[in-house]
Symmetry: C2
């Protein structure tokens, strides 16, 4: 018995077939050039059909899809801001029609990240674990008492909006305080702000065109002990530590897993983040919480998507419409 996982990203669709025990049988990555609504839906349906045809002898239990946005469990619709026409796109209905009797299960990227790590990664065996994803944006997949925290509108875990620093600043309105301050974009933005004010700084980051400056440049300069990069990264460590502390105090988890593009280069900062968090967090919970990088890397969403088929999650066609 096998399960299909699909992870829809900004520039590619990852497709995989796993055994129900989680062994990878096949994986492909399809580049996405035109992120148009209906075409993207058709592409996903097409890859599921192609995978079924490629493995005609394999009994496939179902297909799970990880989407970069929100999955509305009640309707089977999705909201994905980076895909034109997916404001409230009926992905569940679309795929169920295309894939016949095969059960289709969908969830958000952040839910899939933690479910993937819980299935075959570093959260295996955990009932209470949190995946903190820091990339262009920031989100959290939260497993509490063995279930993903979904909220009333399936948008729980919007941790990029966490309020961590007074006073309120207008840019928080657009991204949220935490995401503004410590996402990949936030790192670049804060560096640009400091470049504007630190007139006597003439280090590595001054040489880069400010508009092209990315978090990666800051991490590279930090490795070289650049003073501006160090200030930016210390600033981020404080935010990451405070946010992690708040997750410890609220959820009393076994593990906080750091993932996304920024962790990556920020993985080596996890001990510093833990030290910052320990200052703020509920002191009875804190000593037993492990702060770890994800073990599935960029495949966490793909594993999570496949694991959806094996969850208690109800596949789309059985939902009340």
């Amino acid at each position: 018995m096998a399960v299909i996982g699909l992870d829809l990203g900004g520039t590619k669709l990852a497709v995989a077939l796993f055994t129900e025990e989680g062994s990878l049988l096949y994986k492909e990555r399809v580049p996405l050039t035109l992120l148009q609504g209906e075409a993207t839906g058709a592409l996903i349906a097409d890859r599921i059909t192609a995978l079924k045809n490629r493995f005609p002898e394999t009994a496939i239990t179902g297909a799970g899809i990880c989407v970069p946005g929100i999955y509305y469990a009640k309707t089977g619709n999705v909201w994905c801001p980076n895909i034109k026409g997916w404001e409230n796109y009926p992905l569940g209905k679309r795929l169920s029609e295309a894939c016949g009797a095969m059960p289709i299960v969908i969830d958000s990227d952040r839910a899939c990240y933690i479910l993937g790590e819980a299935w075959k990664g570093t959260a295996k065996g955990c009932n209470n674990a949190i995946y903190l994803s820091v990339g262009t944006g920031i989100g959290a997949g939260i497993l509490s008492g063995g279930a993903v925290v979904r909220g009333q509108h399936d948008i729980a875990g919007a941790i990029g909006w966490m309020a961590l620093a007074q006073p309120f600043q207008l840019p928080f309105k657009q991204y949220g305080c935490f995401e503004h301050s410590a996402s990949g974009e936030g790192i670049a933005r804060y560096t640009r702000e400091l470049l504007d004010t630190m007139n006597d700084y003439n280090g590595l980051l001054r040489a880069i065109d400010a508009e092209r400056l990315k978090a990666q440049h800051v991490f590279e300069a930090f490795e070289q002990k650049d003073v501006l990069a160090t200030a930016v990264i210390r600033h981020c460590v404080q935010f990451w530590g405070m946010a992690a502390a708040n997750l410890v105090s609220l959820f009393d988890p076994e593990k906080i897993i750091f993932g996304g593009g920024v962790f990556g280069p920020a993985q080596k900062l996890i001990p510093d983040i833990r030290e910052e968090a320990a200052k703020w967090a509920q002191p009875v919970s804190m000593p037993s919480v492990l702060f770890v990088p994800g073990s599935l890397g960029a495949d966490a969403g793909l594993y999570g998507a496949a694991s959806l088929v094996l969850q208690k999650a109800i596949p789309y066609p059985n939902h009340d419409q």
Copy 2:
């Protein structure tokens, strides 16, 4: 069929008998003078037996107990810092031995507050709702997807430790940033700090012996538009708003319920707290979240205790030891 609820507070034990539909049949409050461990356990067992004897014709399904601290579901033990000898007291075992075949169910005060409001109060019908209790300390009872968020060690919801303001200050180590800043004790403490620095202030609060100053005095002075009290309350509204915003962004709840001794007098500030929260919170969740006072007042824990008997919660004797 009826259920017993007991709410153990700092100075009294509230005892009640409810129908399974939640109608109050009987209520008494027993003052607690000696908060000694074994004597308190014996008192609770005694009141349960007395209540059974008082209603000999009534079939009683079980007894639920709300404790001011932590209930360890795996062992049936409790940790209550205000009760001498209850660092890891086997309350479940003690009551089960004393009460014969009657199922005994125990939970923490913050879990009972939200379960009480969900049973017969303002959270009735909610699957996602949070009780923010602000009194001497601060805690949160969190209902997510219909279940109480418990965490790995039954200490989730320790929201008094939420990090909301940089930089870190040493007193946060003792109470947590949020509790230090905006609990009942925090209000008094911050007022005393301002009294020490605002030498030109000669308002209502200057007349009160600083050591005897309580949050209640500050609320009374705030009603009189006292300038110092106004500064303190505005400071608290910012913290309460930021904390509520973080609950909105993380949990996407239907309702945030404000309770505890401070709400009370702070109930009329709920619109201001909502306005502050709306600046920070995830903007898709925020418009639909109701900010409301609890409707059961000081009885929320008592109702919640009784409702434990009707929950899927496993009564003590069935736990693995």
